[in-house]
Symmetry: C2
Subunit: 111 residues, 2 copies
Amino acid sequence: MGVREDEKDRIPSHPDVGTVTLQQVLEALVDPVRRKIVSALYAADDDLRCGTFDLPVSKSTATHHFHVLRDSGLIRQYYVGTSRMNTLRRKEIERRFPGLLAAVVGPGREV
Amino acid sequence: MGVREDEKDRIPSHPDVGTVTLQQVLEALVDPVRRKIVSALYAADDDLRCGTFDLPVSKSTATHHFHVLRDSGLIRQYYVGTSRMNTLRRKEIERRFPGLLAAVVGPGREV
DNA sequence: CCCTTAGTTCGGTCGCCATCAAACTTCGAT
DNA sequence: ATCGAAGTTTGATGGCGACCGAACTAAGGG
């Protein structure tokens, strides 16, 4: 396992969740498109490719949303071939903002 | 007890929390000024006058924020003399969005 | 009755953010 | 070596929301 050395360069930097503010996370989660992404990851309990989300926006806008989610510490991204995989940073977020994910994208939450 | 009949007209309408969407509540809570208001009400566990919040904005802007909070079902307002009192609709919100208030404005949350 | 206190309403400005199309990159497959 | 698939980057646009000041209203006190 492990990522090939030359893959690393394509992986954008991820923040330490400890440095992320509540303001940042809320700003990320307030957008319905981004909340749909996080909801899907939360429900799937598995990594998902960017293409699998069926978002109501163009690809460039989707890229923007993934970028915001990454910067806010909510997701981690890595490449598999030409696909970008997304991981919900569940445990880290839960430790820093207990109960937040469940309250916002947990089961039974409306879209 | 009870509110005088002619007081009623000065009280703006409050939505049924059941009809409020998660989107609305998140949009209300994403603003730091509004979150400061809700945090104070949450911590005080009592009704507070509009003037007691020490907000970093003008009075007209503060009015705007209280209006948004009212429309989102987070607070209830009523008059006492020339003062407007604010009540956090804690139980109703908790029933509709379990864990949300605690996660966003609960004890230990950063500003 | 006048003044103060507390907050609202109105009109307008400004900045940010979601959005898109177009051109580009990178990989895998043919 | 070419093509298609997947996503990025860039530049531009549009709309919404936070903000303010000024004028206003409503209640209570002197």
